[in-house]
Each structure stands twice: as C-alpha cells, then as structure tokens.
Amino acid sequence: MDVFLIQLLTGLAGASSLFLVAAGLTVIFGVTRVVNFSHGSLFMLGAYLAWSILTRLPPDPAWYALGVAGAALATAGIGVLLEIGLLRRIYRAPELFQLLATFGVVLVVQDLTLLIWGPGDLTLPRPPWLRAFVPIADAMFPRYDLILIVIGPLVLAALWLLFTRTRWGTLVRAATEDRDMVAALGVDQRLLFTLVFGLGAGLAGLGGALALPDGSANLQMDLSVITQAFVVVVVGGMGSLPGAWLAALLIALLESFGVLLLPRATLVLMFVVMAAVLAVRPHGLLGRPQAPARESGQSFALIRPASAPLRALALILLVAAIAAPFVAGPFLLSVLTEALIAMLFAASLHVMMGPGGMASFGHAAWFGIGAYVAAAAAKGLLAPMPVGLLLAPLLAGVLALAFGWFVVRLSGIYFAMLTLAFAQILWAAASQSDATGGDNGILGVWPDAWAQDPRVFYAVALVLCAGGALALRRVLFSPFGFALRAARDAAPRAEAIGLNPPALRMAAAALAGAAAGLAGAVGAYFNGSVFPTTMSLGRSVDALVMVLLGGVQTMAGPVVGALVYTGLYDVLIRFTDLWRLVLGLVIIALVLAFPQGIAGAAQRFERDAAT
C-alpha cells in the first residue's frame, strides 16, 4: 500500500513534467498544424538557460521561481524568433514539410548548445529547500516533486483560463478548429501563429527548467524528450489540452507502476499504450478528426512523367552510374552504393507518403526487417546471397501488408505515430532478443564470394536499387498508381467510381514495405552486420528527411533527396566536427528556397519556363 502511494505520487509528478512539454506541442500543432520536431530542443534550451540563470542567482525559492520564469520567457522568445524567421515562410508548404525545417533546427541547436555550454552535463547545485523531503507513508518523498504535482494542474488551469476567458484564447481555439475561416474573418493570422508558437515554446522551456533540479542539462535531452512528448500528444489527441493532461497522467502513471511490475518493458511501454489507445480511439482520447484544409485541391500538385530534358538528365546519370565501377575507386564506390541503398529506401517511403498519402514515422521497421531476414538467411540458413535478397522483400512486404490491414483506418499524424510505435516495438524486441543477437546484432553477413569485389557488389546494388526505384516509379504510373492517387486526392470521389481506398493503401504499404526490405537486405550485405539501430527512429527520420527534401509531389523527389542528403552528410561529416550545424543550416536554407522540395522546385521552374 505504501509503495502504491509513493508510485502514485511519483507518477503524478512525472505527469506534470510530461504535460508541460506536451501542452506546448499540442497547442502549436492544433493551431499551426506544424509538427514541431524541435520541441525537444526548446525543452533542452530551457534547461540550459535555466542553469545559466539560476547558477547566477541566490539559491532561495523566490529567486528560483524568477529564474525559471526567466528561462521560460527566454525560450518563448527563441520560439518567436524561430517562427518569424523560419516557420512563417513555409506555412503554405505541404503539411509535413515543416517537419523538415524543424529537423534542421534540431541539428543546429544541438551544435550551438555544445558550442555555448560545452560537452559536459551541467548540474544545478541544490540548496537545502530543493533537496528537502516530506515523510509520506514511511518513505521520504521529495518536496520538489510535490511542487511539481501542483504545477501541472496549475498550468492546465491557467491555460484553460487563457483559452476560454480571453479573446485571444478564443481566437486560438477557433483557429484550431478551422484556421482558414479565422483568417477569412480578418484576424491577423500571422500574429496569432507567432504568439501561439511563443506560448508553446515557453511551455517547453518551462518544462526543461523545472526538470533541471532533478537531473542535469545535457545534450541528450532533446531527443529523449521529443518521442515522449509526441506520444503524449497523440494519445491525448492532437490539439487538445485536456487530452494532453489526461494522456500525460495515463502514461506517467503507467510508467511509474510499470517499473514495479515489468522493469524490462521500459523500452516499449508507452508505445504499447499508444497503440492500444489508438486502436480504440483513432483520434486519441479527446481528439477530434482534423478539419480538412479547405482548398484541398491546392495541396496536390499535378504529377507528370518527367519532361524530355529531365529524362535526358536522368539517362546521363544512369550512364554515369553504370560507368562508375570502371573509373571510381573503392571508397567512392562505397559512397555510391550507400547512396543507392538510401535511394531505394527513400523511394519506398515516397510510395506511401506521396501518392499513398500516408506519412510514416517508422519506415525503418521494414528496412530493418529486410536486413535481419538477409542476416538470418546468410547466417542461419547459410543460404547464398540471392536467397536473402529474395526473402527480405517478400517477408517485409507480407508483414507490411498485415500491418497495413490493422492501421489502414487511421490517417494523418495518428497513422504516422502508430508506425513509429510499431518500429519502436520491433526495435525493442530486436534489442532484447537472443535470436536477433540483441544489441550486439548479427555479424559476418558478407556477400557471396563472387560479389565481394566492391565493383561487383556495386553493380548488384545498382541493379537492385536503381532497378527497384525505377520499378516503383513504373508502378506509380500504372493504373494502380493512378487509383492510389485518386484515393488520396479525393477519397469519396474515388469510392464513388468503385475504388476501395483502404485496400489500395494496404497494397501500397505492402509494396513500400517490400521495397524498403530489399534496401535493408542490400544494406546488410554491404555493411556486413545488422544491429537494432537499422530500425531506430533515427533511420526513419533519415528516410523522412530524404523524401521531404526532394519533394513529396514529384516522382524524382526521393531520388534527388536521397542523393543530396547522403552526399551532404558524407561530405560534411568528413570535414568538420560541426557537421550538424552546417547540415541543419543547409536543410533550413533548402527548405526556405524550395518549399516544394528540390525536385518539386525543378519541376515548377521547368513548367514556368515553358509557359
């Protein structure tokens, strides 16, 4: 009973922290529809700023509160700058494109934080009042946690008052429901968005500052908090503050009790919870179906086969690629091979995200499955490479089809988060299972003797990956591809002509999964080893970045995106320690310059030039 009470209180304190971060994220998404990947970075900045401020202030509670408020305000200010400088310019871009911009921000903030505050973990010296405890049920319960327990509902109440009792708040709520209508009513949408973003950022900063006494300001905070924040927001329902509070409560309590009952489940507990909630309530606990954008026609640009000049360019590139083994050294060949694998991986995600209209945050799951199947074929079955290369896409495709069957009812961000949950669960399973070698992975997955020469392997990769990407392109211009796009463009209209959108999407998911699995298998033989990291969130984000960078609306997009991203990354990481800063800035610059992605911009430029 005592343990129960302590874990309950601990969970409540954790819920407050979670809620603060999630609240900002859900408010931002609710109004601006921006999927703010940099929210974790704002949390981290809040902690670092709080450290800088609080270590310079006297250690008593009044000063502490002031310092925390100062850090939150400073973070809000950074959020405002971010919105004005970057996000404001890309609201018209396709929905997930802003994700790319915020990803660039994450990279930049990581390196800037390292530059400004150094690599070590920074801890706040705790004065006695921060270390005090309250005796509860035979145990010592931190007084600070009690304060946290109170802060959560206080902030919720304050926000509730703000959103229901002030004019501004009412506008924000209206904008959450239908932002186009609010704009039509003559409200200055820009100012509204800026303030909302600032509020969200401030809440994140507050969360970070409040987390400082119990831990440290460190460089891993941004990534470790962002996944949790997204899960809470999705479980609660995007855009719903009370939902975020409920979800934070649910997840924090489950984790708090979870460590008692299932200590090994720490890797996946919140994802299992999210999947369970979404299965029953596809829009989260208190979420509502998102209002569709009014000018829905605008968001789907015309997709045409490439024009003659672009085809010629592609042909030249293909010829160059074929000629490469004869002129390039082994290192360049290895870079090209990696680019080919990335290209197929990106193309497979594009099938789902572009024509399929299903954004996925967990696409690396199929890549990883393919890699592990290849590894199992090579080491377990002792089968030659072609067998692995055949089995991988087959199994990945079948599993993707099965997964698609379960989730095809969901859409938008909920679908994306569920794919993330699935990938994380798989990742956790691979990390903890002996059959997959656990964290130490499977080694010795080398190509057959005849393909071990880098030039030969490159040729194999070229045939499979470039061939695979071309095949995907062909499928997308087939009647199936048209039907898929029809289902995405206007689902009711598609149904009215006899199409079955869920079935089409399932087929697309299976195709995408198979292609990703093939890429994973090629990658496995290329690297010689497979680790759970092939299914990590980082890999899924890589694929997302490549597709978005190239442009979701063109068929050449994923290819361009993959080549640009891998090329940039490989070059930058070789030449500077600050590669994240540079890469982040480049991505931001590309986002601002090419809101339709690089290939999209090329296509538009070409079309404008033709008229």
């Binding site: 343990v3 969970g11 440290s216 460590v259 290895s334 990696e338 690297n527």
Partner: protein, 399 residues
C-alpha cells in the same frame, strides 16, 4: 617527457632495434574512428589523449624512424557509417590499421569489417565482452577493461560487504544486462548467501528516476548494484539522495569513479560508494603524474578517463609496431599478443588468448571534498588479475 622516452627506448632496446633520432621514411598512418559528435563528453578528452601521445612520440623521432599520423573520423554513433568510414580510411587514406570506437555495436561492426578486409583493428573503448570473446577474431584487439572485468574488479570488495539482499539498476541494453549478469554470477561464487530481490532496467537516457528509486526502496535492499551512467546516473543520484535510498546501504557502481561521470554529480556526490574509476586528483605514482602534468600543460585541463584511453591506445598500437618491426597486418597480429606497453596506469600487456589488454582500473570509494566528488581508499587493479580461466575464454571465443 621521461616516461615515453624510457618506454620507447626500453622497448627498442628489448628488440635490439635502434630508434633513430629524426623521423624518416613513409609515415605510419592510423585510421581512427569514434563517435565524436554523439558523445562529446567522452570523446573530446579521448581525442586530446591520443593527440598528446602522437605529439610526444613524434617529438622523439616517431616510431621506427617514421612519423606517426592519426587520421580521425566521426561516425556519429552509427555502426553502418563506421563501416563505410573504415572503408574510406583503408582505401582512400591508405591507413595501415584501424583504431578507436566507443559504442559496443560500432566496435563490433568495425571488428567484423576489419576481419573481412584482413586488417588490424585496435578497439579503445567498446566494453562489450563479445568483442574479444563471442565475436573475437584474429585481427581485433581491445584495450579497455571489459564489462566482465569491471564487474570482477568490484566483486572482490563487494563480497566483503555484509549485505545479503541486493538489487540492481542498469540501463536496458547489452552493457547493462552483461554487467548485471557477470556481477551476480561472480558474487554468487563467493557469497552463495546473496540474493537479488529486485532489478530495474531504465531505458538508456530516459530513466524515470523517481519511480525507479521508489521501486528499489520498496524492495528494502541492503545493497545496490548500479550500472547507470551519464545523465541517468545524475538523475538517479539526485532522486536517490532526496529519497534517502542510499542511507545505510552499500552501493557498488560501475564506472562512477571516472571524472566524466563524477564531476556532474558535484556536491551531491554520494559518499562511500564502491566504484571503478580514475582518481585523477590523488594519484601520485610517476607514470600517472607525468601523464597528468603533460596533459595539463598541453590542454589546460585535468585529464579524464577518456584521455587515458586515447593516450594508451596509441602506445598499445606502437608496441605492436615496434615488436613487428613494421606495419604489415599479419606481422602485427602476430606481434601484438604478448607485447607490452606503458600507460599512465603502468605496464600493460596484450593477452594472447583473447586479444584483451590487461589495462586495469582503479577501485575505490567515492567521497565529497570541497563540494566535488573524488575517489578515496583506492587501489589499482591490474586487468590480468580479474580474468576468467583460459578454459572459460576458449569456450566462448570462436577458434
């Protein structure tokens, strides 16, 4: 810099190979890969360490009359990138051998690749036992004391504690599970009366410290075995301090005595923990002192454990080159086993049976001094003294 010169000359004299006063001939190129941007808190001091070693060796004429070069690359903590970069170093930069690594999976990936390419890989930091046991091979050598060794070093003193009810808290991945496995097994051999009544497995980097501490407290342990490190450790210590988890209990903690992990704890450093680490502020022997002084003079800061690893890594490789008289892979792989080299911790040997070095670490207790954490009551434990039997190793290591 007396240590280094003595070591080189001693090594050279032992082989009868004269060391030339000035460096001539093609430089010796070491391709080094590490997760510089992923874990800067460790890798930046580590880089300082190998840079210092490089400068010292080159200042004295290099190795075998050749200048020593390190071509260093960042792998961003991703095994697949590490493999590609290893290829670049071998093919593009034409390095003579590969070195480095921090994360265990990166180390394994490079080791496998090096084996495939039949080139030497000397791993510095990766702790996984598999690197020299289950996945050990001819061309891979590992410097740092492994997870097994760290656990074994602590078990000696842990067995002397009166505690019978233990709990463990370790990050939920291979390093954590291995550390707990070995510690439990080795402790049970000495103390069959010990039982582990609860285990906690926080996700790496995402510990729910309050809940974890409360869960451990609920088990009413007499002693705690901790494997968390970095931000997780900081969170765990702070929550533990406030909730009184450590009062009246013995705590055995891996790696916590290393400056990288001890410093952030600051004035909340829990005293009396039995830890492995590096008492950089209180070692007085000549080898350590020389290194610390040289490091401080060069970099204006106290070295950390990573610095020692980086520094020793170079010397561990050079020992092989000297003994082999060259940089051919086969010659090196034959020469390294049994080779001895000097480190700030003393003389270290490469074991022939599993290519693990006998580099040890310090075991001691944490204490608070001037608002900072330090190690006291420490002693150096030679790696060789905590190795399992040869039969044990042969069972695990592929032939």
């Amino acid at each position: 810099m007396p240590l280094t010169r003595r070591a080189i000359l001693a090594g050279a004299a032992a082989l009868g190979t004269p060391a030339l006063a000035a460096a001539q001939g093609a430089p010796i190129r070491i391709g080094e890969i590490n997760s510089y941007t992923a874990i800067p808190a460790f890798t930046l001091p580590y880089r300082n360490g190998w840079q210092l070693a490089l400068e010292q060796l080159n200042a004295m004429g290099g190795v075998l009359g050749r200048k020593l070069e390190v071509i260093s690359r960042d792998d961003a903590g991703k095994p697949q990138d590490a493999v590609r970069i290893a290829g670049e170093l071998l093919d593009g930069e034409r390095v003579d051998l590969l070195a480095g690594g921090y994360l265990s999976n990166v180390g394994l990936a490079i080791s496998d690749y090096a084996l495939h390419r039949k080139r030497l890989y000397v791993a510095g930091e990766p702790l996984t036992d598999a690197l020299v046991w289950e996945q050990g091979n001819r061309t891979c050598f590992r410097l740092r004391p492994s997870t097994y060794m760290q656990a074994a070093m602590l078990v000696e003193d842990a067995a002397k504690l009166p505690a019978k009810r233990w709990v463990s808290v370790a990050p939920n991945y291979e390093y954590g599970t291995s550390a707990v496995k070995w510690f439990k097994q080795l402790l049970a051999e000495r103390r069959p009366d010990v039982q582990f009544v609860a285990e906690q497995w926080p996700a790496l980097g995402r510990i729910d410290a309050g809940a974890t501490v409360a869960a451990l407290e609920a088990a009413r342990p007499e002693a705690i075995f901790n494997v968390t490190f970095g931000p997780d450790l900081t969170n765990f210590v702070r929550q533990g301090n406030t909730r009184g988890l450590f009062e009246g209990r013995s705590v055995v903690s891996v790696l916590t005595g290393e400056p990288e992990y001890l410093e952030p704890l600051g004035e909340e450093t829990p005293p009396g923990w039995l830890v492995t680490g590096y008492p950089v502020n209180s070692v007085t022997d000549p080898a350590n002192t020389a290194f610390i002084q040289a490091y401080k003079a060069r970099f204006n800061e106290t070295p950390k454990m990573g610095s020692v690893v980086g520094y020793a890594l170079i010397f561990s490789i050079v020992a092989g080159i000297l003994k082999a008289g060259g940089t051919g892979t086969e010659a090196l792989c034959d020469a390294l086993p049994g080779a001895t080299f000097a480190t700030p911790f003393g003389q270290v040997t490469w074991r022939a049976i599993d290519h693990q070095s006998t580099l040890g670490t310090y075991v001691g207790r944490t204490a608070l001094a001037n608002g900072q954490g330090t190690m006291v009551d420490w002693r150096y434990v030679d790696g060789a003294s905590v190795m399992p039997s040869d039969a044990f190793v042969r069972r695990l290591r592929p032939a």
